[in-house]
């Protein structure tokens, strides 16, 4: 991937330059972009192999886990993160939700003609910093350029590889009646932080996206419980907590009963949702997880979550029930009961 420096090549103008079609044409200009921006930021032995793919070693006795995620967020920069860090966290989390240790990432960038190189540099450096902080290197990548108007600045697609020991079986179909439903912290921050930056909807808020890599939290939880006690792990991203719980109920053929009062929501998030006519249960998170855990292990797992910086506000929010209709129901803080349904379409604000 890293080509020999041509002494006569003028360095990339990372201050005022813009992406043009040449950057994707596969010639010297493209190689220079890879060299001076991507390879420099993500620098690691796998990238330095300089091949089209990376040769990776896999620990013995482990199974591979692979997950992929495309990131098309608008705006690209939001309070608490950007598309770069998000592209790392999102995929690392998808791998971690199978109880796996994430090891490697690939990244492919689709860049729109005219995109400022300074912004691209900011994104790539943030992505590299996130990858270093997670300990999961970007080992291979690709860049394509599309004509102006055919992209939205930058799209980043990442794939993650991880390993999980033989015998560990964590997945959405494993919830059992009686299991405890645990949530690692307050919901709705990512969605509200992003919404607050939308051109049509600017409002002042101090809410930061919760974008974070959850694999160390997962490791701490798994270490605190006997093998097999954690049945399901899932990060409630798009569609929010409500949609994630419905997915699990559907997959496992069970129902759930939640306690609204137990679900942590920051007051700022509650206020913003109130104002916009949205429900925090349906707002995206990027640094939270739901765990469905055998009842006898619930308190140990919850205690482990609460000692981890990403799980300080972890709580048991309900339990799994037997229900042929697979309803997720909730006792409201008001004292009634209701269904917590799937999200249908984009969350739309109510009019009055």
């Amino acid at each position: 991937m890293i080509t020999k420096k041509n002494g006569y090549l003028r360095p990339l103008d990372l201050k005022h330059g813009r992406i043009d079609m040449n950057h994707g044409a596969g010639g010297r200009v493209g190689a220079q972009l890879v060299d001076e921006l991507f390879a420099r930021a993500f620098n690691n032995p796998y990238l330095r192999q300089g091949n089209d793919g990376a040769l990776l070693s896999v620990p013995a006795g482990q199974r591979l886990v692979m997950a992929t995620d495309a990131h098309v967020i608008s705006p690209l920069f939001f309070p608490g993160g950007d598309i770069g860090s998000l592209a790392v966290h999102g995929t690392v989390n998808d791998v971690a939700m199978l109880g796996a240790t994430p090891l490697y990432l690939s990244a492919s960038f689709i860049l729109e003609e005219g995109f400022p190189l300074a912004q691209l540099k900011r994104i790539v450096e943030s992505m590299a910093a996130a990858s270093r902080a997670c300990g999961v290197p970007v080992v291979t990548g690709d860049t394509k350029v599309v004509e102006k108007g055919k992209g939205d600045g930058v799209f980043i697609s990442t794939t993650g590889l991880g390993v999980v020991p033989e015998g560990r079986d964590i997945g959405g179909a494993n919830a059992q009646p009686g299991d405890a439903v645990l949530l690692s912290g307050s919901i709705g921050e990512h969605g509200v932080a992003v919404l607050s930056q939308r051109e049509s909807l600017q409002f002042e808020t101090a809410i930061l996206s919760d974008s974070a890599a959850l694999h160390t939290l997962v490791a701490a939880m798994l270490a605190a419980a006997p093998e097999g006690a954690v049945h399901v792990l899932r990060d409630p991203t798009r569609g929010g907590l409500a949609t994630t719980l419905n997915e699990i109920a559907q997959q496992s053929g069970v129902g759930m009963l939640l306690q609204e009062a137990a679900i942590p929501v920051l007051p700022q998030v509650a206020a913003a949702c109130e104002l916009l006519g949205l429900d925090p249960l349906y707002i995206a998170n990027e640094g939270k997880l739901v765990a469905i855990v055998a009842p006898e292990a619930a308190s140990a797992v919850l205690a482990a979550m609460r000692t981890h910086p990403l799980g300080l506000r972890a709580a048991q929010i309900g339990q799994v029930s037997e229900d042929a209709n697979r309803f997720v129901q909730m006792t409201t803080a008001f004292g009634g009961r209701r269904v917590v349904d799937w999200l249908s379409g984009e969350p739309l604000p109510r009019i009055c």
């Binding site: 916009l276 006519g277 309803f327 409201t332 269904v339």
Partner: protein, 379 residues
Amino acid sequence: MKYVDEFRDGTLARNLAASLQAEVDPARHYSFMEFCGGHTHALARYGVVDLLPGNVRMIHGPGCPVCVLPIGRIDMGIQLALERGAMLCTYGDVMRVPASDGLSLLRAKARGGDIRMVYSPADALQLARNHPGREVVFLAIGFETTTPPSALVIRQAAREGIKNFSVLCCHVLTPSAITHILQSPEVAQYGTLALDGFVGPAHVSIVIGSAVYEPFASTYRKPVVISGFEPLDVMQSILMLVRQVNQGRAEVENQFTRAVNRAGNRAAQAVTTEVFELRDSFEWRGLGEVPFSALKIRPEFAPFDAECRFELIYQAVPDHQQCECGAILRGVKRPTECKLFGTVCTPENPMGSCMVSSEGSCAAHYTYGRFRDIPVLTT
């Protein structure tokens, strides 16, 4: 959340539930219509229904602005976006309302229409300022709550001499809808719809005041309690209605005193009258043509009236034959009595308008309350 949580307090709710239980006459039934979609939503969202005595039935009224918008009106908006190249702006709720030819604003957008969701008509006016080369149309819907903001932007556009902005006015009036229900055969002649009183509008009443409901109490002998949109408001209002019924009273009472007075917001009324005038008749989805039930833009502001500007002609479009939205909006049927409910008509694929907005009776029941009438298809 301060000033909001106080109105959602579980302990107070239990106390109110106990008072209701103690005061209802077990020998009779109580049927109250909550007019507003906001009340319907609160009843379902907070599980208020579980806290009411078994002999108190809440009937969902026609006060969901999205639900009563007829197909033909959405078609006009779609026509503007797809055929006339206009940038069409509207409230988020309207985006999914089913229109003709399997379209909705959301689907028209996917076909290339420039259709945008805004939170306020002022945002639409701003888009017009920002895109002087484009025709920007605000599809204005809603009851008296959303009417003054529409009036304000029209007046503002006129003052600024903005040439590329207009409003497709679909504003409707609450009192005419209530009258329509009270005069409907089911209530007035056959008595098939027992109606003991109304939970009166919250935000609408802030604008129009409480006095306008007095004829309903005096002429039709139906108690009206104007109620806030929070769940405790609704419970307290139901208790006030039960008391009126028990004591044989039919009065307008105001539970929402923190916001509503007898005269309403005169400034809002003034700007509304300045810009809008009564329509002779307007088609409501579910209710049909209702005389003097809606507003149109006055001739003085004709350049800002999309109907004049684009010479739009309204064409009525019938609802799906089996759709019971009409009967549901009049309170004659419950969502579960519709054959389409939960089978072909779901929030993902709404056939009728009551399934679109979370304020609609069908959507509220499907989304929050369907565990009460299991079995419903789950996949």
